[in-house]
Amino acid sequence: MEIKAKGYLSPLTEEAKTSLWVYLKEWACTTDAKRIGIMYLLFATFMAIWGGILSVIIRLELAQHGPDLIMDASFYNALPGMHATAMIFFFIIPAFTGVANFVVPIQIGAPDMAFPKLNNAAFWILPPAAILTFAGFFMNSLPEFGWTAYPPLSNSVYSPIWGADFWVIGLILVGVSSTLGAVNFLATVFNMRCKGMKLFQLPLFTWAMTVTSFLILAATPVLTSALLMLTFERMFPGVFYFFNPAGGGDPILYQHLFWFYSHPAVYIMILPGFGMVSEVIQVFSRKHIFGYVLMVWSMIAIAVLGFLVWAHHMFATGIALEIRVGFMFLTMLIAVPTGIKIFSWLATMWGGSIKFDTPMLFATAFLGMFTIGGLSGVVVAAVPVDIQLHDTYYVVAHIHYVLVAGSLMTAFAGVYFWFPKFTGRFYNELLGKVHFWLTAIFINVTFFIQHWLGMKGMPRRYYDYDPSFELANLISSVGSVVLFLAQFIFIANMIWSWRNGKVAEDNAWKDGFTLEWQITSPPDHHNFHHEPYWKPLIRQHVGPDQPGGLWHRYDD
């Protein structure tokens, strides 16, 4: 079999040209950030299907009152945690890391990442971590404490199962993988920018990845330390009682440490999406971003404030009133930079020339729907309201509006947007549009009704519920099944278009202005044939008759 491929996809050695096995080995050992990025994306796709299957099982069980699909409550209890773990740690974060691996070095004009071998290692930590994390499925000992793993439920007394130990170790490994990735991104962005590219000239996606890497670097280790303590408590019962009140420990301490990571993790999962949407909106509106500097600073503000709000996940645990007031105010403050970003995107679109291809459709729908998730976040920031809604389906609706309508939709926007660069071919526009409409509509069908369920008092992670909630749950379940099935359109589109799509030019969307659009599609092994340079864009206000960056008005 002969491997025919262009650009970075082409085999490096003569041997690999004829042998698929050697070619695959070449991929597995690659240090090329682009190939590693594609591997991240493939891995993330598999994990997304896996997490999706879990979520559909959950929804099917809940479609009707009474146990029907799963007869075993203990299996059901494990599912929400496993779904969350798969989606957060093995889908969204690796998916964004994948796109960033491909795009960030090119956007800053670098031939590769700063530590190519480390990059490969960081990726290869993930599959074994995934196997460990989900080992419970093969061993019939699933951890049943949700993805939050609050002790004492998760300690060795109440979860005396091996699956839980493997899950904890798996999560520590994921943490190591993502911190290594973050170290790499920071070194790359700070040290390997091409000539002329100052920090405040960086494309917004690269900025987003920089801020995200900082978040990962400072937040993930705290989760690691909490999980270390938990592991020791599990392994040596009778000696370590960090979180077990039976020995003077404090269950709330774990929650503090956990949320000190897991709140910034929310921004780890959404900031890259913000960056992607910024790129997509600029290109498809033919306008530069509105208020670039404020956009960057609002990202930094979100990141810093993100470290100061973790206790809003714990308002119902009985922490002191004054502390809750402080955390509430800081939480509400986060809405300010987020609002700035939303308004700036709107202002970017305003007065532009907007072309609604699939990436732009996803970006637009993201704007409309993420706002719902953001505003329901303001609602649950108010302490008395939050206490009532805590651990109900309202919170489920809120996080899914943020993570599905936010992270997932932006990831789709990004993948569609850079697909011509990844493969040198266009995706099928019709399939893309069908995929978009099904996704956008059924996200609302699935998750909107859950706000209502939460306000009526249906708690989360319930195997069975009051029959009076049946209709709403049925609607949500139907929505989730269609939403899940619609994603196969996307996968089919990607697979089909990779071989048969329309061939894309270098600047596939014609209006791309960042460096990745100035090189071949797909890029060659070392990205740039000549040392690139960056001509500073004009970031200040531009009058109607002055030249303005790449697209000044011809004449009207």
């Binding site: 004492p152 033919r286 404020l294 119902a316 809405a335 409309g368």
Partner: protein
Amino acid sequence: MSGYFNPRHLKRAALLLALTLALLIPATAFAVPGSGEFIAHYTENGREMTGLYNMVAKICLAVLIIVEVVLFAAIIKFRRRSDDERPLQNHGNLVLEIGWTSAAALAQIWIGVATINVMFATEVIPDDIDMTVEAVAYQWDWQFVYPDHGGLVHGDLVVPANTNIKLEVTSRDVIHSIFVPDLGIKMDAVPGRFNYWWFRADGPVNQVRVDEFATVERPEREYVTTRPDFMQTRDDATNKTISGLEQRVTYLGRSRTVEEVSPYANYSAIEYQGTCTELCGLGHWDMYFRAVVMTPSSFRQWVFDMQNAVTEANGPDVFAARCATCHGESGQGQGEQFPSLVGAARVVEEGQKDSHIQLVLQGQGVMPAFGQILNDAEVTAVVNHERLSWGNAGGEVTDEDVARVRESLGLPPFPAGGVEPTPTPDLIAAGERIYESCVSCHGRDGQGPDYIPSLVNNSKVNGDVAALAELLIKGADSDQWPGEKSPVARSMTDFQLASLLTYLRGSFGNESDPVQPGDIERIRRDIN
């Protein structure tokens, strides 16, 4: 720009319509009629929180509408019409940027200040707490302890209305969270610490309208809620006008079946559903309890009834409620964590009786200790059920065995505190107050005008209690008493009637035995 009836434009309009449907309808439903709202209506604090939610939601809705309108306007107005279009560049507008930053900040400060007001109003525990209830969670049920009432222990949260109640929430094993949506109660139950919550429940709103004997007009309560729901889950408690149990819970999970007649049907009460909201293991979804709000007099009656109640322990029922979640309905167990009871050495061997009892009382590993959850009779019943069912033949244990093991382990007896009859002076004091409404006919000394029978040395008063009670409950139109004897006791609680009778039988020179509320309960049951 070509004409408006260009088919391409029509197609785009259809797409826009679809986008509108996909985004705007659920979006506007976010905080306007149809979205549903809080159901925490039946406490003062709950109404404050609902009001706060409504306010925040309205602000958010306004922001949402602004964003969506601008978004749609941009979509419609600035879509690309020709390929060589080149828009005017602008890279920012300082005034605009400062404007929306400060507007967002101001809105947040507004919400924040309003929230803090509500927080201090609802969360600071007031000094005048009338009653304390300890809510103890365990895997997987609740236990409510009433330290003010002799350490009474009950599986449902029963409280008097219009009383400041302080809940002390804690857990025996893992983290749970108590949640009564209608009353706006939510607090994590963390092992090793007490969390506090307070509330003042409305209770049965129409308690005074007993059939035709409506005597007091009470204004209808103004509820903060005005928004209709697009889907109704439960009946609105405010719309009921019947006496007795105004609203009953219809679903209590799998381990508790909802009885045909609620155990609280005898009291003037209202029932709400309570649950656990923090993932706590296998039976997390099955931790329902009733939150019952009673009129204060009904509550006194209930306390008395509970203190005098003799529960008959039913082994299979106890097993279904406490053990079946893990060990399976027929003791088959689940996986390695939850061993099978069928043929297990501890369960079938004669010599392991004590160790079987000890395991139930103290628990082991995942298994909770039932020593403070089940009383001796219940432990005996459930142990015997396990030893004699599913083909097991392990020999019976007795209450004495359980008491002996409990003592040898140094465990405190359960339930703590004793069962005390209500003291007679209390009954007389209460009865004297109730008699005030009889004075107009019977006179302060029991001797009214000629046509009213005297109560002094009256054979009915001093005779059979059942007949006397029936007379007062049903009324009479007999030869002896022409005209009608009012059914004054129909709307009285057991406690009230018992105290009235005790007063009558112990005053005006009468010297008959006092009447306990429990007697009245039995009499009422016989009458019906």
